[in-house]
């Protein structure tokens, strides 16, 4: 009976994503350090950070409300939910009926929304600043995610992510069509924006006035901080999976056999490593944009997504 296996695979897939996420971010940091002629922390450093944070005491501001304590769980839960819906390893998933593009976008937005509120909740100035900046970025990047994937959905005839992957695998020539390439460009810029990477936001900055994501979580400590960081790293991995599996879907398992799944795991790791290298090189090359220029960059990705849709619309 396929259904228990399906659920098992889905849960295993999500667990795998959770497990790999810190390693992925560790890899990116290590590569950036190497490119900048430093030795850098080892690749498994984020795991050690998580272990440290879970052991530490939680300090909560006296101005904070219940939202402050609930937010990390909401953010973590929503991101894990997205992990169930994105085709990381296998395509036929029991969650397919709800594995819709719009659900993914809304779940991501839910996490962003709660994090922004949590930044405002303790009443610190930096938190509020980070939240408002995050909302500016999210306002332009969330529609772009939807539009970029919608361009692919036009070709597949459905907004179901699994279906889109299946369709690209069935029609390889579509992968180099201009609609796909434009959508890839749009989605790449959005990946940078949603995950707080350069040139939108420097994840390693110590200067509060230049922070966007970091500013919102300044007040968090202990296990709350651990959950939020882990959710952020998971988001990076999920976006990479989207970029990899939607545009270069070969390797994704279409049948739930051990060999197919093993092959899917291998290709997934390969795609993650390639994208990590690309991101590390890109981040080392570009400088951070001034804040009022960020909407311009996001407008570019929005227009790329619109172009992707119009081009795909006619190619049907």
């Amino acid at each position: 009976m396929p259904l228990p296996t399906g659920y098992t695979v889905a849960i295993a897939q999500t667990a795998l994503a959770l497990f790999l996420a810190p390693g992925l971010v560790g890899l990116i940091r290590w590569l950036k350090a190497r490119l900048q002629n430093r030795r850098g922390a080892p690749v498994w450093q984020p795991y050690l950070e998580l272990r440290k944070l879970f052991a530490k005491e939680v300090v909560v501001s006296s101005n904070a409300s219940w939202l402050f304590r609930v937010a990390p769980f909401v953010v973590f839960a929503s991101t894990v939910a997205v992990a169930f819906l994105v085709p990381v390893l296998a395509v036929p998933s029991p969650f397919d009926p709800v594995g819709d593009l719009l659900v993914v976008v809304y779940l991501l937005l839910l996490g962003t929304f709660f994090l922004a509120l949590a930044g405002l909740d303790p009443g610190s100035a930096f938190g509020g600043m980070g939240s408002s900046r995050e909302m500016t970025v999210a306002a332009l990047s969330e529609p772009t995610v939807a539009l970029a994937i919608f361009a692919l959905a036009l070709g597949a005839g459905s907004t179901n992510l699994g279906q889109i992957v299946a369709r690209t695998m069935a029609d390889p020539a579509a992968a180099v069509s201009p609609g796909y390439l434009l959508a890839f460009g749009a989605l790449f810029v959005v990946t940078l924006a949603e995950n707080g990477r350069l040139p939108v936001d420097n994840p390693a900055t110590h200067l509060e006035l230049t922070m966007i994501h970091e500013a919102m979580i300044l007040e968090y400590s202990g296990r709350y901080l651990a959950l939020i960081e882990w959710a952020a790293w998971l988001k990076v991995l999920l976006f990479f999976s989207l970029l990899g599996n939607l545009f270069v879907p070969w390797g994704v398992a279409t049948v739930l056999t051990p060999s197919a799944l093993g092959w899917a795991l291998a290709t997934l790791l390969a795609k993650l490593v390639v994208l990590a290298v690309v991101l590390a090189v890109f981040e080392t090359r570009v400088a951070k944009l001034r804040l009022f220029r960020v909407p311009e960059l996001l407008a570019v990705s929005f227009v790329l997504a619109v172009l992707a849709i119009t081009v795909s619309f006619l190619v049907r």
Binding site: P178, E296, A299, V300, V303, L307, T310, V311, L314, V315
Partner: protein, 218 residues
């Protein structure tokens, strides 16, 4: 429209259009000239591609002229003009960048709607790129209207010409040769005359900010 040829021409047309949109995104004449040069090279490449597939010698000549004239010569002249009269200060356009980009995207969608009847008529494999060419025409018109520097307006006009050339290439594999030559000559002459006029503007106004050109307002 599944042929590789069709796909590649649409890819080329998308590149040409994206360079046109870059005119709305980047500020500073150096970026604009670079975008125009890249656009002309992409256009020449598309022309070359169509020439290879259709075996048309005339299109080869057109591709070479495009590359030489618009890809190399005009950017050099534009850079020289920029060095002479460029203001080091970047002028704010009439419409800000993010809004311009969104309007540019909407103009491309409008171009698709406008070009719909043409796509019904054409049976050529290159027809899918025609809306992109029309989109470039609209976007270039918007660049001319919304930018304040005379040099940027000229670049917008040159991009407009690129868009029209692309439209002709995709729709009818080019126009009769003698007409093409006439068009190129006209383009070159027009460009030179615009250069002379901008020179005059710089002489009399000491800047090429077209907002200064407001004495005749009745």
């Amino acid at each position: 429209m599944d042929s590789a040829f069709g796909q590649l021409t649409v890819l080329g047309s998308s590149l040409v259009l994206l360079c046109g949109l870059t005119l709305l995104w980047r500020r500073g004449s150096a970026a604009h000239i670079g975008a125009f040069a890249a656009q002309s090279v992409a256009l020449a490449a598309t022309a070359g591609l169509i020439a290879v597939v259709t075996g048309s010698r005339e299109l080869w000549v057109v591709a070479v002229i495009l590359l030489g004239l618009k890809g190399i010569l005009m950017p050099i002249l534009l850079k020289r003009m920029d060095r002479r009269f460029g203001s080091p200060r970047e002028l704010e356009p009439y419409v800000n960048t993010a809004t311009s980009l969104v309007i540019g995207g909407l103009l491309v969608v409008l171009a698709y709607i406008v070009t719909w009847p043409i796509l019904d008529v054409s049976r050529l494999p290159t027809r899918a790129g025609m809306p992109l060419a029309m989109g470039l025409i609209f976007v270039s018109l918007f660049v001319i209207i919304s930018r304040k520097k005379a040099l940027t307006q000229v670049i917008g006009f040159l991009a407009l010409e690129n868009g029209i050339a692309l439209l002709a290439m995709l729709g009818t594999y080019g126009i009769p040769f003698i007409v093409e030559v006439g068009v190129f000559l006209d383009a070159l002459m027009g460009f030179l005359v615009m250069q002379i006029v901008i020179y005059r503007i710089q002489e009399t106004f000491e800047s090429i900010d077209v907002e200064q050109l407001n004495r005749l307002s009745q």
